[in-house]
């Protein structure tokens, strides 16, 4: 399994990547694999507040509905609107085009609570 080492990871399979002043957030390859075909995605509006560890949206596959958990607290500055109409993008390019929201972090040091690529790869091994 390929896990990019340019970003951090949450136990709940979201990634968080520093992009200038913002933190870009998406879900991992592993998460997409587990979900299967995505049929619905609900993301917050620009300007919404998200909290680390709390749901910021919902993703529904043919199997189940799951919460999307924010890896970091802050204000949503960008939302990947085109992704809502191209749900295959969530799983076909999870690391780049499949980003979901970009957050202006309230406290960038929260990133330290997340896993690095190696720790996340091990986490997936245990769950697989």
């Amino acid at each position: 399994m390929q896990v990019p080492d340019d970003r951090k990871y949450a136990q709940t399979h979201e990634w968080a990547k520093v992009d200038g002043d913002l933190i870009r957030v998406g879900i991992t390859d592993f998460a997409g694999e587990q979900l299967g075909d995505i049929i619905f995605l609900d993301l917050p509006e620009v300007g919404a507040e998200v909290r680390q560890g709390a749901a910021f949206g919902e993703i529904e596959s043919v199997k189940a509905v799951s919460d999307l958990i924010a890896p970091i607290s802050g204000e949503v500055r960008e939302v990947n609107e085109p992704l809502m109409d191209d749900l295959d993008g969530v799983t076909s390019d999870p690391w780049e085009a499949g980003w979901m929201i970009a957050v202006a972090p309230e406290d960038p040091s929260q990133m330290a609570a997340l896993m690095d690529a190696a720790a996340y790869a091990e986490h997936c091994e245990r769950e697989a």
Partner: protein
């Protein structure tokens, strides 16, 4: 094969019966503002066309009267014909709900008896037949819980704890009630662990919702300890009674420390279900919650039964009239026919059947939680999927080619590639043996002819449907052309 809709069959001017013209004009009978400007676009077809249309659709229908239907968590047992005949008796079926109480003492007596019997089966003090379905029973119970907390002046409780194996209706009922869900991860053994529960409990918790046996078909063996913890925290215990078929005459939610429970009459008490109802989800509660039950309550006054509307603490009505009465008639007939001993045997045979299937298939598929199960077993196609690429959904579709309804799949969520099998007590050993043989054959085909499974079903009127497109771009109504 395909079947046109009645709209496709429609030809202008065709009709079944010509109704006599009303003696007065529509404008004289109906206020003008309620009159349509133009006639509705209803399909125009002849009676033989309608009769054949529905006969063809009925022949295609996959149902419990024709096929084995081991759909886990749904308790698709056979519905005895005698109960249908009893419910169809015009004395019940033609009864208007507004008939004065003194003219329907027999019907009220049936309701009173069913309430008493369900209370005895559940170990509860009071029963309301009003909720029209299982999830409605959950919601009603949570509203009763909320009213109870409010009445004590303890309105700050906003969280309800729900295990990660729960039916999806549980968190939905919590949200509908205006509360928040706290998900409780299951322990290694697939059961609620009191240690994890201790972490989740707090003085803002209103209730724990627990299914027993849980959706893995496992009895929550530490339920008494769990109930004590929940009550000590000032919260209430809710039992999702969807799996009551595993308990009849052997164990009672009331004795396990639960404060409320719903009964899915359409599952355990053998009233027909599927296709959206009507069902019935009566609830049983402990005495302290009785004042909050939906109004009206059936009471006996001066030797006669009647409805008591003077219920100041009641949460109000949750269903028109008195619940789905004819479903109650069927459940009453079922309990009368089975008797106490018969109901005990229902559970024994249901548990035996599930364990027979579990034991026979444990070498064919993975068994994520070893050990005996209750009325249903959860297997996993994870290893098979890894080896052959054939997944739980492919197995489910292939079963249709053998005239067997698929088990519930991909639920509970804690099991990958889950297949949840609930044979029920009404199936013979021969049926179970055939199912086991078919499952083994499918597993062999998965290794040797995986394409056979990927393309399944092959023999149904509608082949594999594109579930993804159907979900992303649903076509919800017929349009011309």
């Amino acid at each position: 094969m395909s079947e046109p809709t009645l709209f496709d069959l429609s030809q202008p001017g065709k009709r079944c019966t010509r109704m006599p013209r009303p003696e007065r004009a529509a404008e004289e009978l109906v206020p003008t503002r309620h009159l349509r400007a133009e006639a509705p676009a209803l399909p125009e077809v002849s009676e033989p066309e309608i009769a054949r249309h529905y006969a063809r659709l009925a022949a295609w229908n996959f149902n419990v009267d024709r096929n084995f239907y081991p759909l886990g968590s749904c308790t698709m047992k056979y519905n005895p014909r005698a109960h249908e005949a009893i419910a169809a008796d015009p004395g019940w079926a033609r009864l208007h709900p507004a008939t004065p109480d003194e003219c329907v003492q027999g019907a009220l007596e049936l309701i009173a008896e069913l309430e008493t019997w369900l209370a005895a089966i559940l170990g509860m003090d009071a029963v309301s037949l009003q909720p029209p379905a299982g999830a409605a029973g959950e919601f009603t119970s949570l509203r009763v819980f909320r009213a109870w907390h409010d009445a004590r002046g303890d309105a700050a409780r906003t969280r309800v704890i729900v295990p990660d194996t729960a039916h999806g209706t549980n968190p939905a009922s919590v949200a509908r009630c205006g509360w928040e869900v706290t998900v409780l991860p299951s322990g290694e053994d697939g059961r609620v662990s009191p240690e994890a529960l201790a972490d989740a409990l707090g003085d803002d918790v209103a209730a724990l919702m627990l299914t027993n046996p849980n959706t893995l078909g496992l009895f929550e063996t530490r339920v008494l300890e769990i109930a004590e913890m929940v009550h000590d925290a000032g919260a209430l215990m809710y039992c999702d009674g969807a799996n009551l078929n595993a308990l009849l005459g052997h164990a009672r939610p009331g004795d396990m420390g639960f404060d409320a429970v719903q009964v899915n009459l359409h599952k355990t008490f053998s009233t027909p279900h599927g296709g959206g109802g009507p069902g019935a989800g009566p609830i049983g509660v402990v005495a302290k919650l009785e004042p909050f039950l939906p109004a009206p309550r059936l009471v006996e006054r001066e030797g006669a039964l009647g409805w008591d509307w003077d219920r100041p603490q009641s949460i109000g009505k949750v269903q028109a009239w008195f619940g789905n009465f004819l479903i109650a008639v069927r459940a009453w007939a079922y309990i009368r026919a089975m008797g106490a001993e018969g109901l005990r045997r229902v559970t024994e045979d249901a548990v035996l059947a599930a364990n027979y299937v579990r034991g026979a298939l444990r070498d064919t598929l993975d068994l994520p939680y070893p050990g005996a199960c209750m009325h249903e077993c959860v297997l996993s196609a994870k290893t098979l999927a890894g080896e052959t690429g054939v997944r739980a959904a492919d197995i489910a579709k292939r079963l249709l080619d053998y005239d067997i309804h698929p088990p519930t799949m991909y639920f509970p969520l804690v099991v990958d590639e889950a297949l949840m099998i609930e044979p029920t007590e009404t199936e013979s050993k021969a049926t179970l043996d055939r199912f086991i043989a078919v499952m083994r054959e499918i597993a062999r085909d998965a290794a040797e002819h995986p394409e056979l499974l990927h393309d399944a079903p092959h023999s149904t009127p509608v082949r594999r449907v594109d579930e993804v497109t159907a979900a992303r771009k649903p076509v919800l109504r017929w349009r011309e052309g």
